[in-house]
Amino acid sequence: MQDLLYFFQQLINGLTIGSTYALIAIGYTMVYGIIGMINFAHGEVYMIGAYTALIAITGLATLGIAWLPLVLIVALICAVIVSSSMGWAVERVAYRPVRGRHRLIPLISAIGMSIFLQNYVHLAQGSRNIGFPALIEGGFQFGSEDTFPMSISYIQITIFITTLICMTALSLFISRSRIGRACRAVSQDLGMANLLGIDTNRIISATFVIGAALAAVAGLLLGMYYGSVDPLFGFIAGLKAFTAAVLGGIGSIPGAMLGGLILGVAESMTSGYLSGEYKDVVSFSLLILILLFKPTGLLGKPEVEKI
């Protein structure tokens, strides 16, 4: 019984972290699906979202506003606005001028952008870890105190629900809305979409903005869940999220969700039953194995070699 509860506890831990990976992974998967490049700076956009949310929360606290829903909504809005603008600007400055060149070039530009943004925040906000207030505390308990009390905190539930809402909204948006249809058209064939009168530049910008907005949501949620932010934490989170995107099949939105959850659970099970030191080894090995045996990921479409 105790072992079972322990297992479920680790499963919940894994699903929580996995769903935020999924939120970040959307940014990678949409961008890759449309212009076929890895947006290395996406992890930094997420980090900036977390910082903005923290700045907004601290600012409201200084003003003496403490009504929780208001604080959360203001923080969310600020984070989304700043991150989306950042996503837009990054695309405009670093990726649009190099689009269509040799595929190494946008990638290197992206790595440069990632280093730049890390240091931008580092210079502006310092390198210290800054505590993030735990706005949502408490949770449910299962099991008695003398065996193993399993707990689900409210923040974990908030993370699940928010992720689900975001994913559903995004899927609807992509399948129903005009821009969503245009997105799909552009990802099918950029040149053709252009000929058909779709403003592809605008669609690509929109992709970056949507991805960045979701990353900002993840930034706020994870900031509250973990408890601190620092300028370097975006990079590794971005790497994990990218792994999740590839795992699920890059370019596929349900794939990003699935990949994120699998990766999160794999990590927490590794920490739970083996050792936390090998968490990253397991996630990267998982990535390599998937790519070797199913190079297009779990839900990806096979790539056709165009001659």
Partner: protein, 423 residues
Amino acid sequence: MAANNFRHALFCAIITLIISYPIIGFNLEAQGISVTLTGADTSTVVLVLLAAVVVFLFQLFRDQIMGGLKSIPSPMPKTQKEPMAENKRAKIESWVLTGIVVLALFWPFFVSRGAVDLATLVLIYVMLALGLNVVVGLAGLLDLGYVAFYAVGAYTFALLSQYAGISFWMALPIGACLAALFGLVLGFPVLRLRGDYLAIVTLGFGEIIRILLNNWTAVTGGPNGIGGIPDPTLFGMEFGRRVREEGNTSFHETFGIAYSGEHKVIFLYLIALVLAVITALIIRRFMRMPVGRAWEALREDEIAARSLGLSRTAVKLSAFTIGAFFAGFAGTVFASKQGFISPESFVFLESAIILAIVVLGGMGSQLGVVLAAVAVTILPELAREFSDYRMLVFGAAMVLMMVWRPQGLMPMRRIHIELRRQE
């Protein structure tokens, strides 16, 4: 059109404000036990506003400015209009390289120790970049985990010297071969992946190797690293103040001169120089051999190359292995120079820097790589006063370089035959 331009410019200026003001204009500070928010000082705010105004004006008059820039005559119009004859250019390049090497041979005897030490570091980066150049520049395989092979070389020497007492000269080929073996073994399964997938898998491998080195405390010393790595010897002469190993003599005693730490530094520098030259020569040779041509063919058009009968796996593997071999070379020298290595020296950023050197150098050109290695290692040292801004500028430079001059400092020109226009 003008109204459109104005709207766009205004939009860009607002975006600039949004992305800079919240982050720069407010400082989160830990005061005692609580986090407080303070507004930045006026000058910072003014700077942010100024930046927005500059963006606004630039976007508003974008067409005029760009037009103006284009009308300025390019500083090197000649080379662009009529490229030098290929063989002449190659000749000049090899003369310049030889000149640099000769200069580099005598240079350390006239400058300070710190400069020589820094130059050794530059040479290690030159070796690394030349090796990665084979993989990325010539074969077109994006390897983001190159630092793993560098680590293999360094750790091979460190472990062999610690457990088996093997000297630098023995460890050099062993380290390089072991790194090459790693390249072969790792490369075999992953090379059928294409482009970005390959990049991310190699990145994963790089991280896995670093984490394993960090966790396998019993053998690698884990985070403590391995210390006491011996310096290279010259025919059994050691350069330390005291002789470490039985049977060796010390350099300064043999020649009856006073001990000076500079001997060691210069000796190490010369070894690095010789190895870098050897690396450059071997790779040069490879480039002219069929396998070198095959790398480039595969990079240019994989399908065409395969239909000409090239074995994709064999060609890619050879590039990967040879690249890894030279990383092992560089790793051994690095371990010897540092005397102490730990997994901290083999992080992803290191891979990114080596990649930046290759790209900056023009992906494929050897002279370019050498210049880029010098630039990337020395400029940050010169700009130490601005050390806070060092990485910021590095990142921005990478982006700008890709936008404005993606072909690098010295783009490589391949030997090709041009059809002459009839006159």
